[in-house]
Symmetry: C2
Subunit: 341 residues, 2 copies
């Protein structure tokens, strides 16, 4: 069926009357080939539409110019955006991307990394702080360090210390700190903090929130920190049912939760931002769908991806003095659910 005999380097060598070595040199445009023979060979290549067999190529070079990308879920807005940028940049640099979606369980993450490594990828990119260990430190990051022994590992929005591990993260701590401070200076007394995970980045956000409260002289009310699911309706329902909960502002670690808060406010006839200020995170498309529109932290995913890929490319080119960590600052995009000065 598919066994049409493909033309190979021997055919081209024969047609152009040179050796396979010369053909190979032409393919990899080695400098030491006469223009004349090069032309001959090129002619044959064009004529036959020859493309080298990447398996044989891989066998010799032990590389296929392929980067493994692992995300927990590509259906997530944040992740798919990240992958869009990564794929674009790497493609332009001559790399192909092989994509795996691991889900969020530790076991699945590990097996997917193994699968990717067995594919002889040249580097591994882990997208999302879920790969950076979590609050409950029982789940460690050894499997990442293990992977880094084989190929350089790049983590987007997580921080893991280790040889051959490179991290780029948005400054979620600072962003959360700034948002919380701004809310306080705006006169808010009871700031609800909604989070959907215990990942590294979720933790950063929480710490920013806590430190801001502390530094502004507020006492922490544990009941204001709520772990929930990143879904519009889960949050709306939770707020509606939780009648004893009191708050004048909400900071959510993802836009979908914040939209849930908006829907709650609308259902209760609360005016935003006066009665209730709301800030989301990720500055996704969702922000402009609601009315009022959602203020949200832009975590500069594009910059983070660009930075990651730049370093990846450098390293694969053999450059060694590349910083292991890099932090990108976020910025708050204000829309209708806040009105800071």
């Amino acid at each position: 069926m598919n066994d049409k005999k493909n033309i190979n380097i021997y055919d081209i060598a024969k047609i152009s009357g040179v050796s396979t070595a010369t053909v190979s040199r032409v393919m990899n445009n080695s400098p030491k080939v006469t223009e004349k023979t090069k032309a001959k060979v090129m002619a044959a290549i064009e004529q036959c539409g020859y493309t080298p067999n990447i398996f044989a190529q891989g066998l010799g070079l032990n590389s296929m110019h392929t980067i493994g990308i692992l995300v927990p879920s590509i259906a997530d807005l944040y992740m798919s955006n990240a992958v869009a940028h990564i794929e674009d940049i790497l493609h332009n640099a001559g790399y192909d991307c092989i994509l795996h979606c691991s889900g969020y369980s530790a076991k699945q993450k590990e097996t997917h990394i193994q699968l990717l490594l067995n594919k002889k990828i040249d580097a591994l990119i882990l997208v999302g702080s879920t790969y950076a260990g979590s609050e409950d430190t029982t789940h460690n990051t050894d499997y990442i360090k293990q992977a880094a022994k084989r190929v350089p590992v790049f983590i987007i929005n997580g921080l893991v210390n280790g040889d051959n591990i490179y991290c780029t993260a948005s400054n979620d701590y600072q962003a959360a700190y700034d948002v919380t401070s701004a809310l306080i200076r705006d006169g808010r007394e009871q700031i609800l903090f909604l989070t959907d995970s215990k990942s590294y980045s979720a933790n950063q956000k929480k710490n920013g929130y806590l430190d801001a409260l502390r530094n502004e002289g507020k006492t922490l009310d544990e009941s204001k920190i709520i772990h929930t699911v990143n879904s519009v309706y889960t949050v709306k329902d939770m707020l509606t049912e939780n009648e004893q909960l009191s708050f004048d502002s909400i900071f959510a670690t993802d836009d979908a939760m914040a939209i849930g808060a908006i829907k709650y406010a609308i259902s209760k006839n609360l005016h935003m931002p006066n009665d209730l200020a709301i800030v989301g995170y990720n500055n996704s498309t969702l922000c402009v769908c609601s009315e009022p529109e959602l203020s949200s932290v832009d975590n500069k995913i594009e910059q983070v991806c660009q930075d990651t890929c730049n370093r990846l490319i450098e390293i694969l080119q053999g450059n060694t003095d590349i910083p292991n960590q890099s932090i990108i600052n976020c910025s708050l995009i204000q829309r209708g659910t806040t009105n800071f000065e």
Copy 2:
């Protein structure tokens, strides 16, 4: 740097005192190996953590169990959802996915398909009707037929006739027909049709809209068909500026455009659905972000992907009598912007 000598099949053969052929047989669990030797070999494999070199494997088998997925943009909600399902299903069937994002230009599509084919993929999946040719028939689908000479090609939401080409599409014609009919029976006289492309599927939707108008005895007003960009604000602004446009309902071929229409209605103090009925398409997360929430056509992306992958797997297993086309019916999810019976 990365040249740690990997253990290979010869090492395992030596350690377990058998030939490489036997090791290979064990790896591919061939039935004709004694339990005893099998155990010996397995022990060595475990002990060394041996995994076969996929390049060598590929060279021999001329396949790496890899499926190429081409999408115009993975940042698009519809596409990323589709890829999420595809990746999951194919992974469970033992295939890896290599992802390319081509953009929408004909030239880019062709070069990306070439790149994917050169990677020796076992099959190619094209996601989105942009790959199925467009209204202006100048852009043909020869490049797809060409690709199908090398590997089976699967198109999601597009229809291309040809050998070795398999299509699964949601029934966009019927869905658009039904929505339009329902709007008319709901008493709507002036139905705006918003579309952002001239792809196969956009065309199907338009035809459904037109046929419904015709069959319900309405005359077509060309000015009611508006080509625009799939962006919330583009649509909102366009409707706001276009003051001479009159309509009592809007049917958009993508949710983002419909959300733009909702925002327009809110800004004009129009009551939905009474003053203005709105229907979107894709039933994405955006639908529940607005208030009122958006009625939208669920185009069953999961089913479409499942169907596609099922056939792909069958074909790669050598099954030949597989239907070339398959259509999945959509269903309207009603929310606050409509109230049909």
